[in-house]
């Protein structure tokens, strides 16, 4: 917007950035890019026992334009990689990415001809969740880490 540059470092700028980051971290509309096994645990996280909605992150938007958080859940093959890239490009700023599970983070034990060795070779990733598949507790932990990360973001990054 242009204003950020002038406001950076000033009192108003910091307050504004704090307020914005606060709003963003508690209003994470997610785009679930669910492909494989991790999707089962992803379901479990969203459902009654673990209830991701407590963090304000339960609303799935299946249109990337309306989502803030891209959950890449499961293995991404080279055939699917362009799709993932496209979904990421279609998302509106500010946006964050969570690599859910070992396959999304590093390719997992599928070290072969067709599997992308971690989605961070295609798109930038903010939080990695280990595990094959990760337990719901880990997912919630990752979400809280992401919230901390969002809160600490400086204003000029938000343009």
């Amino acid at each position: 917007m242009g204003l950020e540059g002038q406001l950076t470092g000033t009192f108003v700028g910091t307050r504004l950035s704090d307020a914005l980051n606060w709003a963003r971290k508690y209003s994470l509309f997610q785009y679930p890019f669910v492909t494989a096994c991790c999707g089962m645990e992803f379901m479990a996280t969203a459902c009654s026992h673990y209830d991701i909605s407590r963090f304000g992150a339960e609303i799935p938007r299946f249109s990337p334009r309306q989502a803030d958080l891209l959950f890449v859940v499961g293995t991404v093959s080279h055939k699917l990689a362009p799709v993932l890239r496209k979904v990421y490009d279609q998302m509106c700023d500010p946006k964050w990415v969570v690599a859910f599970g070992a396959c999304a983070s590093s390719g997992g034990f599928y070290d072969n001809y067709c599997t992308v060795q971690g989605i961070d070779t295609i798109i930038p990733v903010d939080v990695y969740i280990p595990g094959c598949p990760p337990r719901p507790e880990q997912v919630l932990d990752a979400l809280m880490m992401l919230q901390e990360k969002i809160q600490a973001e400086p204003l000029e990054k938000q343009a």
């Binding site: 669910v34 492909t35 494989a36 096994c37 089962m40 459902c47 009654s48 299946f62 093959s77 699917l80």
Partner: protein, 401 residues
């Protein structure tokens, strides 16, 4: 896909079908299926299903690891019912070697496989209800599944990807308090399933969406190679557990539910009834099984006990050989088949007598279901794709491997 299918009669309005691309990242496509749909208004004229987005090189990976190390890969085939795959693979290798697991081991395998099947059906029914907008039934299904997972976790140590079976045995016997725990879980799950029945069975909107949608005849379903609940909903009673009983399935009294029309509602009912039958089988297992060894006394297949590994040189060597070289499987080929959540799950193994599979082919039931899927969709409406696809229960890991 560009030719125009509808001829406008009378020529009053110019209309052309619309080509719509659904997926792979589409809420109803489970993330790994792409459909090119040709629409005449809301009616689906033609669909082309494209798969392969979750191809993870199962076979190639299996060929590069030892026979036992294939186990985790099989977990991730049908990740909604991993234990069925574990059991299927172990049976195939055992058939190739020419051994049979102990009786107690087979009972436990059946118990775990059937509980996996319940999870599979619950997920399928719940997810298809959710995609119709019936959120509450979905939540009940997942809650029931969660209970079963927690029980399975006490047995296998993992919630979802268990790798519980071993060639010639199991990771471990059932824990001592399994029976009381199981009774508690069974009660909860049964009551949740009853709630689902209450929510869905007579729900007018649900019935309207499911009945007479996506139907197929038994004959046609067989031609496409359909198996499992989808085939049974058409009226054919082919169930591997009954048709050619493996393990101890000939000892149980259970029924194979069949439908009549092969529409979505039949598939839903067949799945719900199979949950009931699985409970029956588990009950009979728990009654019939007797204490005994779960693993074969065979040093070629199973790792020696840990104190032997640390305490004796023979044990250390045996352990080292099995871990490093793998189990030595005699040369040959075998096709072994089991009834998994979605139908006949076959393993076609080829061994050249080395410690690694020369070929480890899996016959996924979903693959056949997907190639015939377009016949279930064409002629219905675009909104019908959702429940039909949901009730077929495509599992990406199994379909694309």
């Amino acid at each position: 896909m560009s030719e125009i299918l509808i001829e406008t009669e009378g020529g009053d309005l110019d209309s052309a079908p619309m080509n719509l691309q659904m997926g792979p990242s589409h809420p109803a496509m489970h993330g790994t299926i792409k459909m090119r749909v040709k629409l005449d208004g809301e009616i689906v004229q033609k669909t082309e299903v494209e798969v392969g987005y979750l191809h993870r090189g199962f076979e190639k990976s299996c060929e590069s690891v030892t026979w036992s190390q294939v186990m985790p890969y099989t977990d991730r085939l049908n990740y909604v019912s991993p234990l069925c795959n574990n059991v299927g693979y172990c049976m195939a290798v055992e058939k190739l070697i020419g051994v049979r697991a102990t009786e107690r081991c087979e009972y436990i395998r059946i118990i775990m496989a059937e509980s996996s099947r319940i999870c599979d059906h619950l997920t399928c029914v719940g997810a298809s209800a959710m995609e119709l907008g019936g959120f509450t039934a979905f939540l009940y299904a997942i809650e029931a599944r969660e209970e079963l997972w927690r029980l399975t976790e006490t047995v296998t140590g993992a919630r979802l990807t268990h790798s519980y079976c071993r060639i010639g045995g199991l990771k471990d016997d059932l824990p001592v308090d399994f029976l009381p725990n199981y009774r508690v879980v069974e009660k909860k799950v049964r009551s949740l399933v009853a709630d689902m029945h209450a929510l869905l069975d007579r729900n007018r909107i649900f019935l309207d969406r499911m009945k007479d949608v996506g139907s197929m005849t038994a004959e046609r379903a067989l031609q496409w190679g359909f198996t499992g609940p989808v085939l049974r909903s058409t009226g054919s009673d082919y169930d591997v557990r009954k048709a050619s009983p493996y393990m101890l399935y000939d000892r149980f009294d259970f029924e194979v539910p069949v439908g009549t029309k092969g529409d979505n509602y039949d598939r839903y009912l067949v799945r719900m009834e199979e949950i009931e039958q699985s409970f029956r089988i588990i009950d009979q297992c728990l009654k019939q099984m007797k204490p005994g060894p779960v693993n074969l006394e065979d040093g070629r297949l199973l790792l020696p006990p840990k104190d032997e590994v640390y305490g004796s040189i023979e044990g250390t060597i045996a352990h080292f050989k099995i871990i490093m070289d793998g189990i030595q499987v005699p040369p040959g080929e075998v096709y072994s088949y089991t009834e998994a959540g979605n139908g006949e799950l076959g393993f076609y193994l080829v061994s050249t007598g080395e410690g690694r599979p020369y070929k480890c082919r899996v016959r996924p039931p979903c693959w056949s279901l997907m190639q015939g899927l377009h016949e279930l969709l064409e002629g219905y409406q675009i909104a019908d794709i959702v429940p039909t696809f949901g009730s077929v229960n495509m599992i990406g890991g199994e379909c694309d491997r």
